[in-house]
Symmetry: C2
Subunit: 149 residues, 2 copies
């Protein structure tokens, strides 16, 4: 799989407890923590695709505590050592519970895999601001990835 | 329903979007934000009870993006104007998506209501530290609430 400069994938702990597990996401004393601007969720219906989007300044951290999500990143940053790379990540339960950092200016999209909705939690270093992100269509020619494959 | 001094219940937005909704939780510029120590999840199996616990210093903020949760608080803080009060809150989808602040030193417990597991997200102002919390049994005589009712 291609690497994307600035993207980080880190294992997260799932701790069995009576009545249901505790799932770690992010601690302020973690080397991964970059400050909190906003925390919110995105629910993704089975088979639905949410793509493409990129943030100009926001760094995102995704975890998927319910369901299974395929996240695709594409790097067309002019100065990036991984310019032109596309990478796919599976996030979710039970076998892929981990944290994905998505750096600013990298295109991202995601889809729910399997029969149940996936829940993405985004721990972002900036609060939502509509002027610091941009969108592209699923078939944007700048991004060589086919969601229908 | 009894009030508990320091507990706050605030409506949260659910924003319909193609492929599944976006669910707000907490922004750093919100008057409710008290700093982030750790964000983690607790999954609760249908009918399971996780109780009782209280934190000595941590303030918690709960939201339930999946499923439905009944949270019970009991206040036995010696100096509290609501000492002796017990309060119940429903948190979750689709009709009770909101944020609950649980202040330190208030006993809390919760159970999943309905047929599916509930997912609690806790945005806490301190990272997990086993020495700043304590537990009590479901039938602790200090807490006049019966989970089996």
């Amino acid at each position: 799989m291609d690497q994307i400069a600035g993207a980080v994938l880190a294992d997260l702990k799932v701790i069995p407890t009576p009545g249901g597990p505790v799932l770690h996401m992010l601690r302020a004393d973690s080397p991964l923590f970059m400050g909190l601007g906003e925390i919110y969720f995105s629910e993704v219906e089975p088979g639905a695709v949410k793509a493409w989007k990129r943030h100009l300044r926001m760094t995102q951290h995704f975890a998927v505590p319910v369901g299974l999500l395929k996240v695709v990143l594409h790097d067309d940053r002019p100065d990036s050592p991984t310019r032109g790379s596309t990478a796919e990540y599976l996030l979710g339960r039970p076998d892929h519970y981990r944290l994905l950092r998505i750096p600013p200016l990298v295109w991202y999209g995601f889809t729910a895999v399997g029969p149940v909705p996936a829940l993405v939690c985004n721990c972002a270093d900036l609060a939502h601001d509509p002027v610091e992100s941009e969108r592209a269509g699923l078939d944007d020619p700048r991004i060589p990835f086919g969601w229908e494959e």
